[in-house]
Amino acid sequence: MAKKPQLAIDTRPWRDPANNKPFVRIRNVTKKFGDVAAVNDVSLDIYRSELFCLLGGSGSGKSTLLRMLAGFETPTSGTIEIDGQDMTDVAPYNRPVNMMFQSYALFPHMTVEQNVAYGLKRDHLPRAEIAARVSELLTLVKLQDYGKRKPHQLSGGQRQRVALARALAKRPKLLLLDEPLGALDKKLREETQFELVKIQEQLGVTFIVVTHDQEEAMTLATRIGVMNQGEIAMIGEPADIYEFPNSRFVAGFIGSVNMVEGIVTEDEPDHIRIRSGELGCDIYVGHGVDCAPDQLLWWAIRPEKMHLSRERPEVGHDANVTSGVVEEIAYLGDISVYQIALDSGKRIRVSQTNASRGNPDAITWEERVFVTWGDSSGSVLTS
């Protein structure tokens, strides 16, 4: 028996672009509607078997980019290559690409089986082969017993699975998913996320998912492309995007963040020091940053990367500690989020894990507290 093919040793081909050929190659693509550029000079490489998420708010151009991949929009300029073939001017019905629509777009006058079989019939496959493929797909999405139903007789989650089965039926090289979980309620969405990832890994198809939900993107994606106003703001693995944002936009878009302005006072190869009036203290960053003395820049830190204490903690470098008064406490169960008013008037948020039950000694309203953080807990942002 043949052995199951081994997964490539490095499952992250984007880390080694020199030796890996991208599967989808988007080159300088711009799409203008009238004078407005919905997508502006986007270049993007996506590798085989990736689950790539395009994340952005409404009007960020993510859907337009997806529709250009499907062929419903033609780029104003630039090229799109899929598996080495130029697809820029190929009609949607001749592309080896299938799409799962946000509204699911299930044909209301056809049964579930007919919906799934539609694409196969267009390829004039033999009847028996179509039937076999349809039942295989319905089994995959656990809808074997629903084949004879019409879409309106299904629940939202079932419709979503029919849409997925239909899009997978033709064994597309590339599957595009437009807000695949957007219409589901929160609990169903969380279950379906994992199912989607499982199916993707099982079939090895390349997925490109458009979503506005950062949590969804973090859960699903091998890599995320954050889009803003028609441009790609950052491409990276979920952890990179969260921990090492490259700009104020990305830092603010994903998760919650405290951001302060500051001026570089020391610029050494192994560290820099930033003076921040807003924060009321110096920031000591334990690694070198590409900047110049007296440069104005921003420093961002996630609420969970900071620590609260009643006593002034011991810190080195005479930095990374400030104090303020607790203004608000939001108790969320697993964590509590404290809003601290610093002496400068700036408000920051600090979250602390509620490790013990009903702690009577917990920090409470109106208390003066000290806030500290580690040398490399924050991100220095120059744009």
């Binding site: 390829d123 004039h124 033709k170 090289k173």
Partner: protein, 317 residues
């Protein structure tokens, strides 16, 4: 080597018949759009636009005996083409009281009937929009039913109702009231228009009123407005689009109405549609009839189309 099950190899694509057909058309420079547009455009040009031009042309001719019963605009005399235009028909329209009176009378009758229809139709539409669901469908069906039955027969039903020895007068007779003369009066024409066009008023009003959010009325009452004030300040302004749509649906066809004035109206009931009909069928003066039609087009139809366009533009915004 790739195996037969390699998912990256697309399944064989056979040439589909539609593709061949489309490609052949495309090679001839024919796009799908042109094919879709061709039939309706040609039909409407030949059977809608050209006829209007013909009417205009004939309105500039004069009546003559023979076939066709109007003078030719173009004639060839001794090798030269001569164009003869007569403005006499139009001059007659302005100088003969009959025509001017008929235009004003048509507009008056249509306007008054529309207002009466609105006054009757609004409470009906309101009632239908407010009754429980199972009643609503029955009432709606009752409104739609006459719409699908013959217009002519409904006017005929009215004559049986209103004539000298008709149902109404027989009923009044039971109480010793002498019979009323209703037929062949302007009153009968008003009744006829209201009766036949009532469904056209109710339906758009209903679709508007049924969408009215009940919580708005509750909010108004909660803020201290009595029912009448709530109606005047909330319901009425919000139903304005329905009122306009319904009124247009009654007013427009009522102006050109022929059947109702000729079956229910008296000899003195002047309506422009009837004047045109008589000009054509009774006096067989085709050029005059054509001139009446053109005047009607300019005075009535064009303003209505402009009004509708303006209304649509507002709605789209």
């Amino acid at each position: 080597m790739t195996t037969a099950h390699d998912p990256t190899i697309p399944p064989p694509r056979r040439l589909k018949p539609w593709n061949v057909f489309e490609r052949r058309l495309a090679r001839m420079g024919i796009t799908g759009r042109m094919l879709v547009l061709a039939a309706p455009v040609l039909w409407l040009l030949v059977f809608f636009l050209v006829p209007l031009a013909v009417v205009f042309g004939i309105s500039l001719a004069t009546k003559q005996f023979g076939r066709p019963p109007y003078s030719a605009l173009l004639s060839t005399e001794e090798g030269t083409v001569q164009l003869t235009l007569h403005l006499s028909n139009y001059i007659r329209l302005f100088t003969d009281n009959l025509y001017v009176a008929a235009y004003f009378s048509s507009i008056r009758i249509a306007l008054i009937s529309t207002i009466i229809t609105l006054l009757i139709g609004y409470p009906m539409a309101y009632a239908i929009a407010r009754v429980p669901d199972r009643w609503r469908n029955i009432l709606l069906m009752l409104v739609i039913l006459p719409f699908w039955t013959s217009f002519l027969l409904r006017v005929y039903a009215l004559t049986g109702f209103m004539r000298g020895n008709g149902v109404i007068n027989q009923f009044l007779g039971l109480f010793g009231i002498p019979p009323l003369v209703m037929m062949q009066t302007d009153f009968a024409v008003y009744v006829g228009i209201v009766y036949t066009y009532l469904p056209f008023m109710i339906l758009p009003l209903y679709t508007n009123l049924v969408k009215l959010d009940g919580s708005l009325l509750e909010a108004s009452a909660d803020l201290g407005a009595r029912p009448l004030r709530t109606f005047l300040t909330i319901t009425l302004p919000l139903s304005l689009p329905g009122i306009v749509a319904g009124s247009m649906l009654v007013f427009i066809p009522a102006i050109g109405e022929f059947v109702i004035p000729s079956l229910l109206g008296g000899p003195e009931t002047l309506m422009i549609g009837r004047v045109l009909w008589d000009e054509f069928f009774t006096s067989t003066n085709w050029p005059r009839a054509a001139a009446v039609a053109i005047a009607m087009l300019v005075v009535v139809v064009v303003p209505i189309m402009l009004l509708q366009r303006a209304q649509n533009a507002v709605v789209e915004k």
